[in-house]
Point group: C2
Chain length 157, copies 2
Protein backbone atom coordinates (compact mmCIF):
# COMPACT_ATOMS: atom_id res chain seq x y z
CA UNK A 1 0.00 0.00 0.00
CA UNK A 2 2.71 2.52 0.88
CA UNK A 3 4.11 4.65 -1.94
CA UNK A 4 6.57 7.52 -2.03
CA UNK A 5 3.93 9.54 -3.69
CA UNK A 6 0.77 8.98 -5.69
CA UNK A 7 0.29 10.36 -9.16
CA UNK A 8 -2.72 12.55 -9.94
CA UNK A 9 -2.35 13.75 -13.49
CA UNK A 10 0.68 16.04 -13.50
CA UNK A 11 0.70 16.32 -9.70
CA UNK A 12 2.32 14.35 -6.91
CA UNK A 13 0.10 13.50 -3.96
CA UNK A 14 1.78 12.96 -0.61
CA UNK A 15 0.91 9.61 1.05
CA UNK A 16 -0.33 11.50 4.12
CA UNK A 17 -3.32 12.62 2.06
CA UNK A 18 -4.11 9.08 0.93
CA UNK A 19 -6.22 7.07 3.38
CA UNK A 20 -6.85 3.88 1.46
CA UNK A 21 -5.13 2.14 -1.42
CA UNK A 22 -5.12 -1.12 -3.33
CA UNK A 23 -2.62 -2.23 -5.95
CA UNK A 24 -4.65 -0.44 -8.63
CA UNK A 25 -6.51 2.42 -6.92
CA UNK A 26 -6.18 4.95 -4.11
CA UNK A 27 -8.50 7.23 -2.15
CA UNK A 28 -7.44 10.72 -1.05
CA UNK A 29 -8.85 13.64 0.87
CA UNK A 30 -9.63 16.86 -0.94
CA UNK A 31 -7.80 20.17 -0.78
CA UNK A 32 -11.11 21.96 -0.39
CA UNK A 33 -13.91 19.52 0.37
CA UNK A 34 -17.37 20.59 -0.77
CA UNK A 35 -18.97 18.78 2.12
CA UNK A 36 -17.54 16.65 4.93
CA UNK A 37 -16.21 13.39 3.53
CA UNK A 38 -15.89 14.61 -0.06
CA UNK A 39 -13.00 12.51 -1.36
CA UNK A 40 -11.58 11.27 -4.65
CA UNK A 41 -10.88 7.70 -5.75
CA UNK A 42 -8.25 7.53 -8.49
CA UNK A 43 -6.61 4.86 -10.59
CA UNK A 44 -2.96 4.42 -9.60
CA UNK A 45 -1.98 4.34 -13.25
CA UNK A 46 -2.23 7.72 -14.90
CA UNK A 47 -4.84 7.48 -17.65
CA UNK A 48 -7.06 10.26 -18.91
CA UNK A 49 -10.25 8.50 -19.83
CA UNK A 50 -12.37 5.85 -18.12
CA UNK A 51 -12.21 3.68 -21.26
CA UNK A 52 -8.41 3.58 -20.92
CA UNK A 53 -8.65 1.52 -17.72
CA UNK A 54 -8.17 -2.24 -17.99
CA UNK A 55 -10.97 -4.55 -16.84
CA UNK A 56 -9.12 -5.19 -13.57
CA UNK A 57 -8.55 -1.48 -12.97
CA UNK A 58 -12.21 -0.71 -13.68
CA UNK A 59 -13.41 -3.33 -11.21
CA UNK A 60 -10.91 -2.33 -8.58
CA UNK A 61 -11.68 1.39 -8.89
CA UNK A 62 -15.40 0.84 -8.30
CA UNK A 63 -14.96 -1.75 -5.57
CA UNK A 64 -12.75 0.78 -3.83
CA UNK A 65 -15.30 3.55 -4.39
CA UNK A 66 -18.09 1.36 -3.04
CA UNK A 67 -16.15 0.54 0.10
CA UNK A 68 -14.98 4.11 0.64
CA UNK A 69 -18.45 5.54 0.02
CA UNK A 70 -20.06 3.10 2.41
CA UNK A 71 -17.62 3.80 5.23
CA UNK A 72 -17.69 7.58 4.79
CA UNK A 73 -21.49 7.72 4.58
CA UNK A 74 -21.68 5.99 7.96
CA UNK A 75 -18.79 7.96 9.43
CA UNK A 76 -20.38 11.28 8.48
CA UNK A 77 -23.90 10.16 9.45
CA UNK A 78 -25.08 10.80 5.90
CA UNK A 79 -27.91 8.97 4.12
CA UNK A 80 -26.93 9.00 0.43
CA UNK A 81 -23.89 9.29 -1.80
CA UNK A 82 -23.06 11.10 -5.02
CA UNK A 83 -20.65 9.22 -7.32
CA UNK A 84 -19.52 11.03 -10.48
CA UNK A 85 -16.86 10.76 -13.13
CA UNK A 86 -16.29 13.78 -15.33
CA UNK A 87 -14.77 11.79 -18.14
CA UNK A 88 -13.05 14.26 -20.44
CA UNK A 89 -12.83 18.06 -20.62
CA UNK A 90 -16.30 18.56 -22.11
CA UNK A 91 -17.72 16.83 -19.04
CA UNK A 92 -15.93 19.21 -16.69
CA UNK A 93 -12.75 17.20 -16.06
CA UNK A 94 -9.84 19.52 -15.35
CA UNK A 95 -7.23 17.10 -14.01
CA UNK A 96 -6.63 14.60 -16.84
CA UNK A 97 -6.49 11.46 -14.68
CA UNK A 98 -9.51 9.20 -14.09
CA UNK A 99 -11.08 9.92 -10.71
CA UNK A 100 -14.41 9.36 -9.02
CA UNK A 101 -15.90 12.10 -6.89
CA UNK A 102 -17.58 10.66 -3.80
CA UNK A 103 -19.73 12.92 -1.65
CA UNK A 104 -21.72 11.82 1.39
CA UNK A 105 -25.13 13.48 1.17
CA UNK A 106 -27.72 14.55 3.74
CA UNK A 107 -31.09 16.24 3.58
CA UNK A 108 -30.61 19.96 3.05
CA UNK A 109 -26.85 19.75 2.55
CA UNK A 110 -27.21 21.90 -0.54
CA UNK A 111 -30.24 24.09 -0.97
CA UNK A 112 -30.92 22.39 -4.27
CA UNK A 113 -29.46 18.87 -4.35
CA UNK A 114 -27.81 19.47 -7.70
CA UNK A 115 -25.75 22.50 -6.87
CA UNK A 116 -23.24 19.93 -5.73
CA UNK A 117 -22.21 19.36 -9.32
CA UNK A 118 -21.54 23.02 -10.01
CA UNK A 119 -19.42 23.00 -6.92
CA UNK A 120 -17.44 19.93 -8.05
CA UNK A 121 -16.28 21.74 -11.15
CA UNK A 122 -15.43 25.00 -9.46
CA UNK A 123 -13.43 23.21 -6.81
CA UNK A 124 -11.63 21.02 -9.31
CA UNK A 125 -10.58 24.13 -11.21
CA UNK A 126 -9.41 25.72 -7.98
CA UNK A 127 -7.39 22.61 -7.17
CA UNK A 128 -5.77 22.76 -10.56
CA UNK A 129 -4.94 26.45 -10.22
CA UNK A 130 -3.59 25.94 -6.75
CA UNK A 131 -1.37 23.09 -7.78
CA UNK A 132 -0.39 24.70 -11.06
CA UNK A 133 0.72 27.86 -9.40
CA UNK A 134 2.37 26.01 -6.56
CA UNK A 135 0.96 28.58 -4.18
CA UNK A 136 1.07 27.80 -0.50
CA UNK A 137 -2.17 26.13 0.42
CA UNK A 138 -4.17 28.59 2.43
CA UNK A 139 -7.49 26.84 2.57
CA UNK A 140 -6.44 23.72 4.41
CA UNK A 141 -3.11 23.03 5.94
CA UNK A 142 -1.16 19.89 5.16
CA UNK A 143 -1.64 18.97 8.84
CA UNK A 144 -5.39 19.31 8.58
CA UNK A 145 -5.52 17.13 5.48
CA UNK A 146 -3.19 14.53 6.95
CA UNK A 147 -5.34 14.51 10.09
CA UNK A 148 -8.47 13.87 8.09
CA UNK A 149 -6.71 11.12 6.14
CA UNK A 150 -5.63 9.52 9.45
CA UNK A 151 -9.24 9.57 10.61
CA UNK A 152 -10.43 7.82 7.44
CA UNK A 153 -7.51 5.40 7.36
CA UNK A 154 -8.66 4.09 10.73
CA UNK A 155 -12.00 3.10 9.16
CA UNK A 156 -10.25 0.49 7.06
CA UNK A 157 -8.23 -1.20 9.80
Amino acid sequence: MAAEHYTFGPYKIHPSEVFYATDLSYAMVNLRPLLPGNVLVCSRREVKRFVDLTADETSDLWHTAKQVGSKLELHHKASSLTFAIQDGPQAGQTVPHVHIHIIPRKTGDFEKNDEIYDAIDVKEKQLKEKLDLDIERKDRSFQEMAGEADEYRALFL
Copy 2:
Protein backbone atom coordinates in the same frame (compact mmCIF):
# COMPACT_ATOMS: atom_id res chain seq x y z
CA MET B 1 -30.04 -11.53 -23.21
CA ALA B 2 -33.76 -11.56 -24.07
CA ALA B 3 -36.20 -11.03 -21.22
CA GLU B 4 -39.95 -10.57 -21.10
CA HIS B 5 -39.37 -7.32 -19.37
CA TYR B 6 -36.68 -5.63 -17.36
CA THR B 7 -37.23 -4.33 -13.86
CA PHE B 8 -36.51 -0.69 -13.03
CA GLY B 9 -37.58 -0.13 -9.45
CA PRO B 10 -41.36 -0.51 -9.43
CA TYR B 11 -41.58 -0.26 -13.24
CA LYS B 12 -41.45 -2.77 -16.06
CA ILE B 13 -39.26 -1.83 -19.01
CA HIS B 14 -40.15 -3.31 -22.39
CA PRO B 15 -37.24 -5.15 -24.10
CA SER B 16 -37.64 -2.85 -27.12
CA GLU B 17 -36.20 -0.03 -25.01
CA VAL B 18 -33.20 -2.11 -23.94
CA PHE B 19 -30.31 -2.12 -26.40
CA TYR B 20 -27.65 -4.04 -24.53
CA ALA B 21 -27.72 -6.54 -21.70
CA THR B 22 -25.49 -8.95 -19.85
CA ASP B 23 -26.54 -11.52 -17.26
CA LEU B 24 -26.25 -8.87 -14.55
CA SER B 25 -26.85 -5.48 -16.19
CA TYR B 26 -28.84 -3.81 -18.96
CA ALA B 27 -28.72 -0.52 -20.85
CA MET B 28 -31.87 1.33 -21.93
CA VAL B 29 -32.85 4.47 -23.77
CA ASN B 30 -34.45 7.33 -21.91
CA LEU B 31 -38.05 8.51 -22.03
CA ARG B 32 -36.84 12.08 -22.38
CA PRO B 33 -33.13 12.20 -23.15
CA LEU B 34 -31.32 15.32 -21.98
CA LEU B 35 -28.92 15.13 -24.88
CA PRO B 36 -28.54 12.63 -27.73
CA GLY B 37 -27.28 9.33 -26.37
CA ASN B 38 -28.33 9.94 -22.77
CA VAL B 39 -29.00 6.41 -21.53
CA LEU B 40 -29.18 4.48 -18.26
CA VAL B 41 -27.26 1.38 -17.23
CA CYS B 42 -29.05 -0.59 -14.51
CA SER B 43 -28.41 -3.69 -12.47
CA ARG B 44 -30.79 -6.47 -13.49
CA ARG B 45 -31.44 -7.27 -9.85
CA GLU B 46 -33.53 -4.64 -8.14
CA VAL B 47 -31.45 -3.10 -5.38
CA LYS B 48 -31.69 0.42 -4.06
CA ARG B 49 -28.17 1.29 -3.15
CA PHE B 50 -24.81 0.83 -4.88
CA VAL B 51 -23.44 -0.91 -1.79
CA ASP B 52 -26.15 -3.57 -2.15
CA LEU B 53 -24.59 -4.88 -5.38
CA THR B 54 -22.38 -7.95 -5.18
CA ALA B 55 -18.77 -7.72 -6.36
CA ASP B 56 -19.72 -9.39 -9.65
CA GLU B 57 -22.66 -7.04 -10.19
CA THR B 58 -20.50 -4.01 -9.44
CA SER B 59 -17.84 -5.06 -11.95
CA ASP B 60 -20.38 -5.99 -14.58
CA LEU B 61 -22.36 -2.75 -14.19
CA TRP B 62 -19.27 -0.63 -14.77
CA HIS B 63 -17.83 -2.76 -17.55
CA THR B 64 -21.19 -2.38 -19.25
CA ALA B 65 -21.21 1.38 -18.63
CA LYS B 66 -17.68 1.69 -19.99
CA GLN B 67 -18.57 -0.17 -23.18
CA VAL B 68 -21.86 1.65 -23.66
CA GLY B 69 -20.29 5.05 -23.00
CA SER B 70 -17.46 4.40 -25.41
CA LYS B 71 -19.75 3.30 -28.22
CA LEU B 72 -22.27 6.11 -27.74
CA GLU B 73 -19.58 8.79 -27.50
CA LEU B 74 -18.28 7.71 -30.91
CA HIS B 75 -21.74 7.21 -32.37
CA HIS B 76 -22.84 10.72 -31.34
CA LYS B 77 -19.49 12.31 -32.31
CA ALA B 78 -19.04 13.51 -28.73
CA SER B 79 -15.71 14.07 -26.97
CA SER B 80 -16.42 13.38 -23.30
CA LEU B 81 -18.84 11.48 -21.07
CA THR B 82 -20.66 12.17 -17.83
CA PHE B 83 -21.13 9.12 -15.58
CA ALA B 84 -23.16 9.62 -12.39
CA ILE B 85 -24.90 7.57 -9.75
CA GLN B 86 -27.37 9.36 -7.53
CA ASP B 87 -27.10 6.82 -4.75
CA GLY B 88 -30.02 7.41 -2.43
CA PRO B 89 -32.78 10.03 -2.19
CA GLN B 90 -30.58 12.74 -0.67
CA ALA B 91 -28.36 12.50 -3.76
CA GLY B 92 -31.33 13.07 -6.08
CA GLN B 93 -32.30 9.43 -6.75
CA THR B 94 -36.01 9.16 -7.45
CA VAL B 95 -36.27 5.63 -8.86
CA PRO B 96 -34.99 3.35 -6.06
CA HIS B 97 -32.97 1.00 -8.28
CA VAL B 98 -29.22 1.41 -8.88
CA HIS B 99 -28.58 3.06 -12.23
CA ILE B 100 -25.78 4.93 -13.92
CA HIS B 101 -26.57 8.00 -15.98
CA ILE B 102 -24.37 8.14 -19.09
CA ILE B 103 -24.36 11.29 -21.18
CA PRO B 104 -22.15 11.90 -24.24
CA ARG B 105 -20.79 15.44 -23.97
CA LYS B 106 -19.64 18.02 -26.50
CA THR B 107 -18.33 21.55 -26.30
CA GLY B 108 -21.21 23.93 -25.70
CA ASP B 109 -23.82 21.20 -25.24
CA PHE B 110 -25.00 22.96 -22.12
CA GLU B 111 -24.26 26.62 -21.65
CA LYS B 112 -22.62 25.81 -18.38
CA ASN B 113 -21.27 22.26 -18.34
CA ASP B 114 -22.87 21.49 -15.01
CA GLU B 115 -26.44 22.32 -15.80
CA ILE B 116 -26.53 18.74 -17.01
CA TYR B 117 -26.86 17.57 -13.42
CA ASP B 118 -29.82 19.78 -12.66
CA ALA B 119 -31.39 18.39 -15.77
CA ILE B 120 -30.74 14.77 -14.72
CA ASP B 121 -32.81 15.25 -11.60
CA VAL B 122 -35.66 17.09 -13.23
CA LYS B 123 -35.92 14.46 -15.95
CA GLU B 124 -35.74 11.60 -13.48
CA LYS B 125 -38.61 13.13 -11.54
CA GLN B 126 -40.56 13.56 -14.76
CA LEU B 127 -39.91 9.93 -15.65
CA LYS B 128 -41.21 8.87 -12.28
CA GLU B 129 -44.34 11.02 -12.57
CA LYS B 130 -44.97 9.78 -16.07
CA LEU B 131 -44.68 6.16 -15.07
CA ASP B 132 -46.47 6.65 -11.78
CA LEU B 133 -49.43 8.26 -13.40
CA ASP B 134 -49.42 5.85 -16.28
CA ILE B 135 -50.15 8.74 -18.60
CA GLU B 136 -49.73 8.16 -22.29
CA ARG B 137 -46.21 9.12 -23.22
CA LYS B 138 -46.44 12.33 -25.15
CA ASP B 139 -42.80 13.27 -25.31
CA ARG B 140 -41.49 10.27 -27.20
CA SER B 141 -43.47 7.52 -28.75
CA PHE B 142 -42.76 3.88 -28.04
CA GLN B 143 -41.79 3.59 -31.72
CA GLU B 144 -39.27 6.37 -31.42
CA MET B 145 -37.69 4.83 -28.36
CA ALA B 146 -37.63 1.36 -29.88
CA GLY B 147 -36.04 2.84 -33.01
CA GLU B 148 -33.31 4.48 -30.98
CA ALA B 149 -32.72 1.24 -29.09
CA ASP B 150 -32.43 -0.61 -32.44
CA GLU B 151 -29.83 1.90 -33.59
CA TYR B 152 -27.77 1.38 -30.43
CA ARG B 153 -28.25 -2.39 -30.42
CA ALA B 154 -26.53 -2.51 -33.80
CA LEU B 155 -23.42 -0.98 -32.21
CA PHE B 156 -22.91 -4.13 -30.17
CA LEU B 157 -23.23 -6.70 -32.96
